[in-house]
């Protein structure tokens, strides 16, 4: 089967219904069995401005938004002016002939001017629907799927609205058949129908699968989608969901719930995480497992709330004062987020420490196709040495009296892990203190004479990470062992780097391989050093200005990358950004490439 890969770009003002139009299209593609990736470049305003949604679909894997647009739907003049010059021969632009005037397009670009007023009978809100009809016609997709999805989408608005939109979609579909040339290829069909999902949804669903019973948040873009999913499903799934006064309260409340034995989780973005950081240290100190997701956006401070970045690595590495064990992980895509959350909860329960997830706007708000069979909610659950009153914990319950005051919550063990009872269990009374404490929980911070105990407790906590690293898979090299260049990335860039590796081999004759790093703390430094030590040219690709991961890699392994590709304009990498930068670096032109995002300002 030939691989057919195409993308539709829809742009206009916020409030022009771009998200719902994109949703209809994504559903049609997914139901057809196509893999897809949708990325919405938008602004932090509710009405007006410019927003541009790219939906790329294929019968093969789709790991990012891609490099080109095949169907361009500018809903206003501004969008036409910003993007038309990027269209290549073979692409087409669908627009309202009365509202939008095309500028200079490349040769071979089909300009599909539509009489929208006529086709929509003057309903300005339905221009998108007519354009959708035309799009499907050009892609060689029959009209029934559009009709099905439209009926569902507009069902709430009543039969009249459904009927009107169906008629308009059909009018657009037929107009395109009579007036425009369809693509020489047809949108293919996949093996089986797929669904669509965002990363914020997979985070929330991963939490539900892991058994999260408590979720708290303060709304903050681009993490709010997790809160909305949790709130919508709270009662059905038996999850306590709270919107709290600030992120300081969020983390403290999550720790309180986790301390009682709940699996508790929260998500935020960099600014909210900054407020949480003292309390993350508390989770480390009182050894209470919690999971927090930082959905990174472009910083610092308020930064660019609707734009993506990988700029919070050092914030998460250094969150909170002092040394304490934590697990930090940067999942690589939406499905990986789903699988990682339960795995991280198991690690946090076992090692009794905070678990921090680095997501970003790109994968959290980005939509992907999903095979329902990949969403297995019946996950492995390991709660470590937890002692619950009803015996549901898997910690051994040593015989203890009701009030004998002998339990050592912070017992100094070879693994550093101490049996963990929760409030409500008879006979295990203790106080969890953020001051340094002895094995039984009593404070030693006020004692002048106890450097030995302080050292013992610091080492007990630190020792837990020696066990944790054995439970974490080391990163694996993708591609040929011997290569001209090794591309290293972390977190959400894995997909676009993978495609760049394939493009370098397929189109440029450059043999590249890829090391995608997901588990950040603890880090498999020895394995990474061994892999990178065999490479003659290592280029680190990351979505920030200062090379945060490059610095971390050097601090943990002593390995300094040979070259860097960094993007910090708020937009994600596209494959060609990486391909061109690698070519320039291999040609000796530079060691630091900063790809330019080509949309007209």
């Amino acid at each position: 089967m030939n691989k057919i890969d195409f993308a539709v770009g829809i742009g206009g003002e916020n409030g022009q219904g771009i998200a719902s139009t994109g949703n209809i299209l994504a559903l049609i593609f997914a139901r057809r069995g196509l893999h897809l990736n949708a990325y919405n470049a938008y602004q932090s305003i509710i009405r007006g401005g410019h927003t541009f949604l790219t939906i790329r679909a294929s019968n093969g894997p789709v790991r990012n938004m891609g490099d080109q647009i095949d169907v361009f739907i500018p809903l206003n003049q501004d969008t036409m002016d910003r993007h038309l010059h990027l269209l290549k021969s073979g692409a087409c632009a669908i627009y309202d002939k009365d509202k939008v005037t095309p500028g200079k397009a490349a040769d071979g670009v089909q300009l599909c001017a539509m009489p929208m007023k006529e086709l929509t009978k003057g309903n300005k809100l339905a221009v998108n629907t007519a354009a959708l009809g035309a799009t499907l016609q050009l892609l060689g997709i029959e009209s029934e799927p559009l009709e099905t999805v439209i009926s569902r989408q507009f069902k709430k608005k009543g039969d009249a609205v459904v009927a009107e939109n169906l008629a308009i979609a059909r009018a657009g579909y037929d107009y395109a058949a009579q007036n425009f040339a369809a693509f020489s290829w047809k949108a293919p069909r996949g093996a089986k129908p797929l669904g669509i999902i965002t990363g914020n949804q997979t985070i929330a669903m991963g939490g539900a699968a892991a058994g999260v019973k408590f979720y708290a948040a303060y709304p903050m873009s681009p993490s709010t989608g997790v809160l909305m999913w949790m709130a919508a499903h709270a009662r059905e799934l038996g999850i306590m969901v709270r919107q709290v006064e600030d992120e300081i309260g969020v983390m403290n409340m999550v720790i309180g719930a986790a301390h009682t034995g709940c699996r508790a989780m929260c998500a935020t973005s960099g600014g909210g995480f900054a407020l949480m950081s003292e309390a993350v240290g508390m989770a480390g100190m009182i050894e209470t497992p919690i999971v927090c997701i930082d959905v990174q956006r472009a910083g610092p401070a308020t930064g660019v709330p609707t734009k993506t970045e990988q700029g919070d690595l050092w914030q998460v590495l250094g969150a909170g004062q002092g040394d304490y064990p934590r697990v930090v992980v940067a999942p690589t895509n939406q499905l990986d987020l789903f699988h990682t959350i339960p795995e991280l909860f198991n690690l946090c329960d076992k090692y009794q420490c905070p678990g921090l997830v680095l997501s970003d706007l790109l994968i959290s708000e980005g939509t992907t196709s999903i095979d329902p069979d990949d969403l297995n909610f019946q996950v492995k659950i390991d709660r470590g040495e937890l002692i619950l009153p009803n015996g549901n914990g898997n910690g051994a319950n040593p015989a203890s009296g009701y009030n004998d005051k002998t339990y050592l919550r912070y017992k100094n063990t070879p693994s550093g892990i101490s049996p963990r009872a929760v409030p409500g269990v008879p006979g295990y009374i203790f106080t969890a203190a953020t001051d340094e404490h002895d094995e039984d929980g009593t404070l030693i911070s006020d004692e002048f004479t106890n450097p030995q105990k302080r050292r013992m407790m610091v080492e007990k906590r630190a020792r837990k990470m020696q066990g944790a690293i054995k439970d974490i898979a080391p990163p694996k090299l993708f591609g040929p062992e011997k290569a001209d260049v090794t591309l290293v990335g972390w977190g959400s860039t894995a997909g676009v780097i993978r495609e760049a590796v394939e493009k370098l081999a397929g189109e440029e004759g450059i043999v590249a391989n890829q090391l995608a790093i997901k588990w950040i703390v603890p880090l498999h430094a020895a394995e990474i050093s061994a892999i990178l030590g065999r490479s003659k040219n290592v280029i680190l690709v990351e979505n920030n200005q200062s090379g945060q991961f490059a610095r971390y890699l050097r601090s943990e392994t002593g390995f300094a990358a040979h070259g860097h590709i960094r993007k910090y304009d708020g937009e994600p990498f596209m494959p060609h950004h990486i391909v061109e930068a690698v070519k320039a670096q291999l040609a000796g032109q530079t060691r630091l490439s900063v790809p330019v995002h080509e949309v007209n300002a």
């Binding site: 669904g195 038996g238 719930a257 034995g261 909610f377 019946q378």
Partner: protein
């Protein structure tokens, strides 16, 4: 040296005595500190209410008074400066069968923790909040606090404070607290009654306690309070009268009321209003994890 012999273990609840509530260590407060009286009153209240130690969780922030959980033999948490109420809300929602008692100082609760104070009250979370109010920062050796009176000279206000203090009583009454009381370390028996009422109350209960700092507050001492405090219960105050409660809450000077200012029982607590807690499955913390295959099927259906 011989190994310590553990007392015989019992698998049945033991006979409760006042001794039961004594913590593993003795307080390291300054001799004469008002907090000793608060600790004794709390232990007496727990004993008189017959609460088993494992059924209660005492949660504090940071400060001299916040060391209290370590001195009480119940489950305890000694959290971060200002965060006791946020942590306590999480504890209550995670296990709503626990009696939760928060304790801390005026700086902890009304200063750095002010935001949580306001929002925990409006949510009417079912817990007791004991504020040991000494109108000074003691652990940092004597700086001005949110309840320091205007003009007070402290190490951070050597020329006298120019700021108006917070008055926690009216603030709590209008903030949504449903049990608002004040006690004084010099009147321990009265304090026990205030605590018992607070612990039994369903909803957010504040007991602000004048707990003199004998080291750093030379203005608001036992000697200063003793002739001034007047017990509301002895004056026929009606705690269901909102306007009277506010009026008495503002009273300061030669006569300062202590006692129960305000109580209402018609408002449901946050826990009452959350259906997730009322499924007959017990506390969230002890329920089985994960979701059923039927639930999973429903979630997946939403994506197709």
């Amino acid at each position: 040296m011989t190994a310590p012999v553990a007392p015989p273990a019992t698998t049945e609840p033991g006979q409760l005595t006042k001794e039961t509530y004594r913590g593993r260590i003795h307080p390291d407060w300054c001799p004469g500190c008002g907090d000793f009286s608060v600790l004794a009153a709390l232990q007496t209240a727990l004993f008189e209410l017959g609460l088993q130690p494992h059924q209660a969780c005492v949660i504090s922030g940071i400060g001299c008074s916040s060391n209290l959980p370590g001195y009480v033999n119940t489950y305890g948490m000694h959290t971060l400066h200002g965060r006791a109420l946020a942590v306590a809300t999480g504890v209550r929602l995670g296990n709503h069968e626990l009696k939760v008692i928060c304790a801390g100082g005026d700086g902890d609760g009304y200063g750095i923790g002010g935001n949580h104070f306001v929002h925990t009250m409006r949510r009417n979370v079912d817990l007791t909040y004991i504020v040991m109010d000494n109108q000074i920062y003691g652990l940092t050796t004597g700086q001005c606090s949110p309840t320091s009176v205007k003009g007070m000279k402290t190490k951070s206000t050597p020329h006298g404070s120019v700021e108006n203090p917070i008055n926690p009583i009216p603030m709590a009454i209008v903030g949504g607290a449903t049990y608002v009381a004040r006690a004084f370390s010099g009147k321990q028996k009265h304090m026990v009654e205030m605590f018992k009422g607070a612990i039994q109350h369903k909803g957010f209960a504040l007991v602000d306690v004048f707990s003199p700092c004998v080291t750093y507050n030379k203005d608001n001492t036992y000697q200063w309070f003793n002739p001034r405090v007047k017990i509301l219960e002895e004056q026929g105050h009606d705690p269901t009268d909102f306007h009277k409660a506010i009026e008495r809450g503002y009273q300061w000077g030669d006569e300062i009321p202590i006692g129960l200012f305000w109580r209402r029982t018609d408002l449901e607590s946050l826990e009452d209003l959350e259906p997730v807690l009322h499924t007959c499955e017990g506390p969230l913390a002890f329920r089985p994890l994960g979701i059923s295959p039927e639930q999973a099927k429903g979630l997946i259906q939403e994506l197709l």
